[in-house]
Symmetry: C2
Subunit: 409 residues, 2 copies
């Protein structure tokens, strides 16, 4: 029987020779059409700006929000993987294609690991955690009275009357409960998701695919259920939300993220976002930031909207985010979160508890647990888009860490 | 007769509606294949990272090299344009598609203008001024004993024995006097320069064009004259130089630029470089920096290699750069610089004087005049790749400014 936890099983970008050498030999060159797939994502997720056009989300010129350190040795902490086998934090991080992992307890960094060439300054792709950054800035704008969740999206974007979003509210878009038909299939070459990849400039364009995200939004004219009837994960709703934000403020998305969140939060580094051919920053997946800055973002949520010594996000928005409706939640999402919900672009872990998460494909997580006073961020380059076993193992790990940290204080 | 100096004649990117609006209407979207052409370059030269993949040239975490201010009103200074007509600095800056213009005299900023939406933080494309940045870092490495101008390039890159660079020295590459055939035609679709644009990822690939700069270097096998016989401007020699630097140091180019120049110089902002599909930063044209940081770079040269209170570049290298050989210089370069020369990736204005320049197509200039204690940087988005009349007018302008500044001190 092969040793499932053999440390040599998971190769780093360096081991694999990806983009290594001068010149890089042909076998080490990232093929553009497969940049997000294994094994190439071991390198690309930390080097997005070298693969795609991007725009800066400026950190501003203010001081960094300093995070105190209170190191704890969690490497040897053992917990049960989803398979039932016992593992340790160190072993799991290695096995799970980890690029970075950080745990904050009561506002202090207790554990921080960089792997696979990642450094404190590396900007790592968020994948769909970008939706939660977008939704957080939306919450800030709601607090400023610039957006209203109960408003029809067509009030911000009258053009959407010609699409299936006609009649939907911003609330539906925030919770992904609009009835718009959008096929979120990551593997099919002709799914709506595949078209989004092309429209975003993430993949080479084929045929008559739209050249930008806006143009794709305008093609989505089929409503397959009543708005608000149920949660159905639809990547493009984050972009509809983003366009509402841009239109409501008259401000570009990267500038908005900087002004309302990244600068006031005292981020350590400027973030960046991939842009489509019209310069639109991809709100649904194109965000990139450092491990610690994702942790600061989580901490703003943990602290009820306060970060860097100031209120950034309204408390009501944070409280509302913790109250997703489990009745709208269903398969296949219940595979990973049997008692979960989706609210304000976040995944509620268990509607009977307060923890919620940002999640991105290929293993990205920002976990916020107010009851345990814990934030955990994991950045990865999994071989799989989705893996319920890996996701459940992540949850087991953070539960184990929370128990350890809570038990000794 | 139309008013040649009509301020309305030169439109800004904003006037033109380029990349403006949410969504950007189709007429405002930059067509990728023409991004560097008029009128699109009015916008793209300040937004390269939103168009192309890039890598960061980190400024480091040290303090900024502060440049004192000693403002002078030069707007109304009149001088003769190349046409013979009198104009003023303000009028010329407007007429000449200026994005930024800065003048330093005796180390102080005496004049600084941002136009066409450019700001103090905007990174502007250098075009071929990148070669002079590359050549400057080469000079630093020569000072460290890591590179030797008299060495055959094949000592660093043995693969070049299979190319027309066999037998050429680093000196030939630094001065663009190798005998390698390389057709520097900006308009032809099949010139070597057009292939470089495709290999660099700057233009859509056609046919069997190489997918990276290294692969194009390896295709250049025709020697059309004896190495060292005469200067012939060949963009790709800067890339051969860059690969020698990478190989000699075992360090990537962006990291090398940061470590040896941008960080010690105390740059205000991180710069960036476009990268090809193998992650190679385009040393021949892909550099982007702020107006003031280009000025700091000029000031290092003006000060004989000292900047930010430390020696950055050997004095000998600066002195050598001022001594280009006019006997190797010829048409068409003499159209703009009748007594010019080319040395160490810089253009010597007049071999009887000390001033030298970095020059990039579409109106980029860093002018260093030790005798007048003056640095001038002009960043532009001309409609033309090359314009001897515009270039001569630039020189008239800086001569007029030097006379004004020198005459009153």
């Amino acid at each position: 029987m092969p040793d499932r936890t053999d440390k040599t099983a998971v190769k780093t970008a360096h081991d694999l020779g990806i983009m290594r050498g001068a010149p890089v030999p042909p076998t080490g060159r990232v093929p553009f059409q497969d940049w997000d797939r294994a094994p190439w994502n071991r390198w690309t997720f930390q080097h997005i700006r070298e693969i795609l056009p991007t725009t800066e989300v400026w950190r501003g010129s203010g001081p960094v929000w300093q995070l105190p350190g209170a190191p704890r040795n969690l490497d040897d902490l053992s917990f049960a993987a989803d398979s039932g086998d016992e593992t340790t934090i160190a072993q799991w991080l290695n096995d799970d294609f980890t690029d970075g992992f950080i745990v904050l307890h009561r506002g202090s960094i207790v554990f921080e690991r960089y792997m696979n060439g990642m450094t404190e300054r590396s900007l790592h792709l968020s994948q769909s955690m970008a939706k939660s950054v977008t939704g957080t800035v939306a919450g800030i704008l709601v607090g400023q009275g610039l957006l209203d969740p109960d408003c029809p999206v067509t009030e911000y974007l009258p053009e959407l009357k010609r699409t299936a979003w006609n009649g939907a509210t911003l609330r539906h878009v925030l919770d992904m409960t609009s009835g718009v038909r959008y096929v979120e299939d990551y593997e099919a070459l002709d799914s709506d998701m595949a078209i989004t990849d092309m429209a975003a400039g993430w993949k080479p364009r084929r045929g008559r695919a739209p050249t930008c995200i806006w143009d794709q939004i305008m093609t989505l004219k089929t409503r397959e259920r009543v708005h608000g009837a149920s949660f159905e994960y639809k990547t493009i709703e984050a972009d509809v939300l983003a366009y509402c934000m841009i239109r409501a403020t008259g401000t570009g998305l990267a500038e908005l993220f900087s002004r309302e969140l990244w600068a006031p939060m005292g981020a350590e580094e400027s973030a960046c976002m991939t842009v489509d051919s019209t310069g639109y920053p991809l709100a649904d997946a194109g965000f990139n930031a450092t491990l610690r800055d994702y942790a600061r973002f989580g901490l703003v949520h943990l602290n009820g909207g306060i970060g860097n010594g100031r209120r950034i996000l309204p408390l009501e928005w944070v409280e509302d985010t913790r109250k997703g409706d489990p009745a709208l939640f269903n398969a296949p999402y219940t595979d990973t979160l049997p008692n979960g919900a989706y609210r304000n672009t976040f995944w509620v872990e268990d509607h009977r508890r307060q923890a919620y998460m940002a999640i991105g494909v290929f293993g990205q997580f920002i976990y916020v647990d107010p009851e345990e006073e814990l934030v955990a961020v994991k950045l990865s380059s999994w071989p799989e888009f989705l893996s319920p076993p890996r996701a459940r193992t992540f949850l087991n790990a953070v539960h184990g860490i929370a128990a350890r940290l809570g038990g000794t204080t």
